[in-house]
């Protein structure tokens, strides 16, 4: 033992801990916090990537809310998408999870199969596949033709294109489904047995036992899926080839942001758009948390 000499700071348990955290810390400061603050600054500037940023105060934000029709379009497209795709996806995921939870044979296989689409989730390949399926002479219309129905070109008609993407989102129900399955497994079987003895119907069991005990999981899934839906980019980008068309029907918020930033070199305006999106998502999440105590039940 060396005596009289203080051990160097990095040899203590705490010091070593910080040392191990350092790579993450540097990454967080340089690759997350730094760019975040920089983008906040840029959102008050006119910045074209090629020349130095030019301070314009709140002009970007003012323009967004008063003089930008495309901003309003992109907000509307995104809200329709979130409001329809998230609840539908959750209901679908829950129904399939309950079916799978009945202990059917080959459960792992089904679980994997249903999870696969969300694994491929936002991939380019899936978007291209979707484009093929829903094109004018795609598989979907060939199927409909069997029944004498002549379908439109789903992805290139502004009346249907957004709904096609909502169907795509619902189809990728795998990841909330897995979480639901885990949640269902947590509900003790004896609760159901007791209910059966009392003569409760299956529906009553579902409404009175399954749903209340599952609310924390529903809450979790709803928040994650909502945030994800607000950030949707890849399918719209691929299917419309970056244009947001036809007739801006697929002009998602993030796609519009991308166009402004990299299509037209308005980095300052795009940064402002990004901050508004952050605030919208934060408001949604805060709202969910505030109302959660009225409907989310945790074990006491």
């Amino acid at each position: 033992m060396v005596r009289g000499k203080a051990r160097p700071w990095y040899a203590s348990a705490e010091g070593a801990g910080y040392l191990f955290l350092l790579p993450w810390g540097i990454g967080f400061l340089c690759l997350s916090l730094g760019p975040i603050l920089w983008s906040l600054y840029l959102s008050f500037t006119d910045f074209d990537l090629l020349t130095a940023p030019d301070w314009v105060g709140t002009a970007n934000y003012v323009r967004m809310f008063t003089a930008d029709a495309k901003f309003m379009t992109s907000v509307r497209v995104t809200f329709v998408y979130v409001l329809f795709s998230v609840p539908l996806k959750l209901v679908f995921a829950l129904v399939v999870a309950i079916l799978l939870n009945r202990g059917i044979r080959g459960l792992p296989l089904y679980r994997a199969l249903f999870y696969l689409p969300s694994l491929l989730g936002a991939s380019v390949a899936i978007a291209i596949l979707w484009r093929q399926l829903f094109a004018g002479n795609g598989l979907v219309n060939q199927f409909l033709a069997q029944f004498g129905i002549e379908g439109p070109s789903w992805i290139s008609n502004p009346n249907y294109s957004l709904w096609t993407l909502i169907v795509l989102a619902v189809w990728q129900f795998g990841s909330p489904m897995i979480v639901f399955l885990a949640g269902l497994r947590q509900i003790p079987a004896d609760v159901y047995e007791a209910a059966q003895i009392d003569g409760a119907s299956r529906w009553r069991q579902f409404v009175r036992i399954t749903v209340p005990l599952l609310t924390p999981v529903i809450f979790f899934n709803a928040i994650i899926q909502t945030i994800d839906a607000f950030k949707t980019f890849t399918p719209a980008f691929i299917i419309s080839n970056g244009s947001g068309g036809p007739v801006n029907s697929l002009l998602f918020y993030t796609l519009y942001l991308y166009q402004e930033a990299f299509g037209y070199f308005r980095m300052g305006y795009a940064s402002a758009l990004a901050w508004v999106l952050l605030i919208i998502i934060a408001l949604f999440t805060a709202f969910a948390f505030l109302t959660s105590r009225y409907w989310v039940h945790y074990d006491e």
């Binding site: 090629l50 495309k70 070109s153 419309s240 970056g242 244009s243 036809p246 990299f262 299509g263 070199f265």
Partner: protein, 429 residues
Amino acid sequence: MINHIGRRQFMQIAGLTAVTAGLSSNIAHAAADRLRLIFWGGQARADKTGQASAIFADKTGIAVQNEFLSWNDYWTKLATQIAGGNAPDVVQMDYRYITEYASRNAIAPLDEFVGQQLNLDDFDEDQIQGGSVDGKLYGISLGANSMACVYNTVILEKAGIELPQGGFTYDQLYEYADLFKQAGLPKGISVITDSSGNEQVLESWLRQRKKALYTADGKLAFDADDATEWFIMWSKLRDAGVCVSAEDTALGTGPMESSMLVTGKAAIQTDNSNLLVAYQALMQDPLALAPFPLIAADATGGQYRKPSMFFSIATSSRAKAEAAKFLSFFVNDLEAAKVLGTERGIPCSEAVREALAPTLTPLERASLEYVSSLGDILGPIPPSPPTAAGEINQSVLANISQQVAFGMQKPDDAGPDLVQQANELLSRS
């Protein structure tokens, strides 16, 4: 003990210094004997460019490192690289963006190299003009092309149509549609692509009416009445089944593989003459070129010889002289020309064209002859478009033409709408 450590430290420092010195001398060297080049395009262009670069390296000892991307990814990457101060020495530039990049000082004027490293003695005057912004030369045209209808000869033959060499009129399109119906062609083939949202076709149409897209000082050179008439004309063509439906047109926004010509939805595709070879590579039926439609049989001046793309030198480049040498080689060297062919358009040097002619494939010769035989319908090259032109094309014109095609806006409203939105963008940039 201390002495020993000191010596080890000394050796370490000495070693480090040596390594650093070696590195920095390498970097200093790199500016002179290695150039970086970035361009957009497909594999075929990349192969040809790589071969030409190898010849340049043999002759000068200057290696050229090539990088290529698709059109969409290219502009994102280039803008980011320029912002980061590490743009390649030589960058491929487009007619649409050259004003923007030049006015923001991202690409360097080349005048000081002309007559020195850069030989333009034999270069077409209109192509030099096309690469100039505010009287300074910013881009070396890599080839001339012109707007062209790329058409499927088999389908037109079956319908009994022979496209006249000097161009066909918009009115004739209705006759062609009738012939299509009588010939019993497979269902779903239209005569021509819906070009109401195609900036080039609009420009050609305006020029035949003695107007233009933009004035030399970057203002709109047509009015709401012109635009309304334009949308009405296409609505009529659409209603008569002459052009491709709105739904199908919206499917063809991307690569050539999904174009209406290749997918068999249209017999005539409006595009650029240098793309004939690329379209043919994707199709069995033989293709050929004709000028854009005319507003009347004797209309003139609609077409022009446009620089298909430029090479420019980044302002941040530390090897501008070497880069200028490379540019000169690329457009003048006969060995390079044989490798490059007409993939980037018709070479702009008379000597290169003459040397190249016997080596061309029939298809390449067809595009060369097309550009050189336009005659009266060829007009002067317009001034390079203003900064907002790209956005007006992609965001405003494309969107309004789709709105009209899908029946969400009347042609009468679409004209004023186009002019108003375009003016807004022009005044904002």
